[in-house]
């Protein structure tokens, strides 16, 4: 009965740094709270009506006191702000060697896609010590990916990508919650983050890839979960396929098939930038737009350019764009695969450099 936690586990590199700030705030809060409480209680007792104490007017000039209790809290607050802001800016960007995993939120489940083609629902298998960068998308309403033990949280917002990263420091199973209210079964949109050591994780990856993303705990094909999986079906490349041998991850290989099936190659063929921009090396590069501005070709830009080609037209190409919109023709999973294919067409290390 009395065996219950009062403080969450620290299981990521960020957690102790956030907790240090938290405990300092607790000290400030506790100190101020106790100070005010003591003053109020002491005054209420000492200066109770009828007590024999001096009630002469204060001698001190009131503006001095006022200035003191404006300036001191302000400086204290600014100190906390600088610490918090510095820490926040520092934990914004993932390390260069972060592993990409795509996560899609939908009412009411979390679906993860690994580069190796492994998929899982309401679980996420990661290796201890391996920095992981999640690219979050939502298929319907706003969700929020929250791992208390890692002290990380990020909304998954429909219509755009957001991202989140962490480096797990402990093996074990940790809560995954949806933190943004998303409808009837919001409190059922929970799962488990499974942090494994290297060998266990490698075995899990192998096992899940062998199952072709359709067996065991990665059974995402069945029922409601597989809403847009019909298009890709069982055609996920396994590590032994020809595409994998060309250096494409199974996820990127799936993306390449979408690229061909949707007719992207007709215009975006390598070597011909006549009708459409060249896509090799695009991810992470700076793109000059027709309106004179420049944009970095990140996930957000690529997503928008596929779904709304007219939104940001590359300099030198006609407006309105010749490219049809793919809004409604691609589910979030296929979009993620396509994106991973485009990313694979630029050097991975270069892309990681750009992110920093």
């Amino acid at each position: 009965m009395w065996d219950f936690p009062l403080f969450p586990e620290q299981a990521s590199t960020i957690a102790p740094r956030v907790d240090a700030l938290y405990f300092s705030l607790v000290a400030v809060a506790g100190g101020t709270g106790v100070l005010v409480a003591i003053l109020v209680i002491v005054f209420a007792v000492r200066y109770r009506a009828g007590s024999a104490v001096s009630r002469r007017p204060l001698r001190i000039r009131s503006w001095k006191l006022e200035t003191a209790w404006i300036v001191v809290p302000l400086l204290l607050f600014m100190g906390i702000f600088v610490w918090a802001g510095w820490l926040y800016a520092n934990i914004q960007y993932p390390p260069a060697d972060a592993l990409d995993i795509y996560v899609i939120g939908k009412q009411w489940m979390w679906q993860a896609q690994h580069l190796g083609g492994q998929r899982e629902i309401n679980q996420l298998h990661v290796r201890v010590g391996q920095p992981v960068r999640l690219t979050l998308a939502s298929q319907d309403v706003i969700h929020s990916y929250y791992i208390p033990a890692f002290r990380v949280k990020q909304d998954a917002v429909p219509g755009r990508y957001t991202s989140l990263w962490f480096t797990p420091t402990k093996t074990g199973r940790f809560h995954l919650f949806c933190a943004e209210y998303c409808g009837t079964q919001h409190s059922g949109m929970v799962g488990t983050i499974i942090v494994q050591n290297a060998s266990e994780h490698a075995a899990w990856l192998q096992r899940s890839a062998d199952a072709g993303g359709t067996g065991g705990e990665t059974a995402w094909n069945a029922g409601a979960a597989g809403m847009s999986s019909a298009a890709t079906g069982g055609a996920l490349a396994s590590p032994g396929s020809p595409m994998a041998s060309r250096g494409l991850s199974p996820m990127a290989a799936a993306g390449e098939r979408h690229f061909q099936r949707l007719g992207c190659t007709n215009c975006h063929e390598s070597g011909s930038a006549q009708r459409a921009p060249f896509l090799t090396g695009l991810y992470g590069s700076q793109v000059s737009l027709a309106d004179g501005s420049t944009v970095r070709a990140d996930e957000q830009y690529l997503r928008q350019s596929i779904l709304q080609p007219n939104a940001r037209i590359v300099a030198g190409y006609p407006s309105p764009s010749l490219m049809p919109s793919f809004q409604g023709r691609l589910g979030e999973e296929q979009l993620a695969e396509l994106l991973e294919y485009l990313k694979s067409q630029s050097t991975r290390s270069g892309a990681a450099e750009e992110r920093r």
Partner: protein, 546 residues
Amino acid sequence: MSTAALRPSTDTTPAYWRSGSRLRDWLLTHDHKRIAVLYLVSVTAFFFLGGFAAVLMRLELMTPGPDIVRDETYNRLFTMHGVIMVWFFLVPAIPSTLGNFLLPIMIGARDLAFPRINLASWYLFMVGGVLALGSILWGGADTGWTFYTPYSSTYSNSSVITMAMGIFLSGFSSVFTGLNFLVTVHTMRAPGMTWGKLPLFVWAHYATALIMVLATPVLAMLLILLTLERLLGVGVFDPRLGGDPVLFQHLFWFYSHPAVYIMVLPAQGVVSELVPCFSRRHIFGYRFIAGASLAIAIFGFLVWGHHLFVSGQSVYAGLIFSVLSFIVAVPSAIKVFNWTTTMYRGSIRLDTPMLYALGFIGLFSIGGITGLFLASLPVDVHVHDTYFVIAHFHYIMVGGTVLAYLGGIHFWWPKISGRMYPEGWGKFAALVVFVGFNLTFFPQFVLGYLGMPRRYHVYPPEFQVLNVMSSAGASILAVGYLLPLTYLIWSMRYAPRAGSNPWGATGLEWQTSSPPPTQNFEAYPPVVVNQPYGYEQVLVEELPRE
């Protein structure tokens, strides 16, 4: 005393509640005091309805699994609780009841500037309230009081529009009240009632009125946009219609963060009256408290983005909203220090209103300081949308506003009803509320840092003990609320009559009879000579008797 040329009212002028007792004399009244009583009855009813929803939620959360209600019902309960408590209790609670009753009297005016608009404001409030309640009977809305899109505009299968229209109408009642306060304070002050002599209660309501008039229209526009998208498919917020869901959050918090100050500024105004009266001491730092109210009203408009720290807003926006959120805490800190210093070398009596005021100072401080946790970006990322946030804003809204409201109701009850309340019961209830409140909400800070998300109908079993503590506290708190309801109603008939000034207070409202006549004062205009809060003089006059 602060006024000259004022004589105590005699019994020849009937009290405001004796001039016409037919129903239409109340429902068509232009008397700000009667309208205040209409509001008092209405917000009390809404408070207990919203509280009932909270009781059901706390019962459900006694165990980790689903028990007494289904998820659909639970989601409707917290939506009902939030909507009712925010728009039909907290926003009007102090301004439309105590403010409406006292503001004209405190500045020596006969009524508010626009009595008919004041009455219209109550009718709009009631129609809005009936719509919101109707939406609940109709099946309820399940969006939470925040109505985040695209869930509310596209996905929710519940009566969102009825609820939104109820809030839309109640918003106009709030604009009307604010408008009335602004014009009244500017144009109807009695001779000698300069800006520097306004009671801090009036300053707080002036600042509140600014926010009501400037922020509420944004809420109205937002609710119209939401209705257009839901009803006609006009794409504003839903990305599938070409909209931006985060735009909704910006607009929503552009109203709803300042609205927090609509709820708490009047409460601070009440405490600024109670502390000097029961300390028999001039308020310390009058100018700073008045200035802090205005500073809060202004800075309160610049911090809405701290509700969007995990919504994908840019790092720079996050940093700017973070620093502004730290700054907005300073004026509230100034007030806390000034109230505390006012007690120094006072002659303190711990009557019920003072107990509530002291409770307010402590709990509001905790609420304010935990706001700094939420302004700190990396900590907010962890506790955003968890019970930590729930605990934080309940410390402000309940520990702050509700305690000040109860303190104010007890303080001015003799003026409003003409009767004293039973002091022993009053102190006991104040203690019960304080204990129940802390037991309910303190465990939620711990739950929040552990990671329990808000709006969860079921939760992991390791959170149960803290949830049971919270539910136990809620039952104590409920008793604490029912006690005043009972003995205040009892007192209207059976308690001893109050004199015109039972507390020996200095404000103008204590210079007229209890309850005041319809015209507020016997002789017009009352001429104000002295500074407010001349309690040192009161103390000297009282000393021989002690």
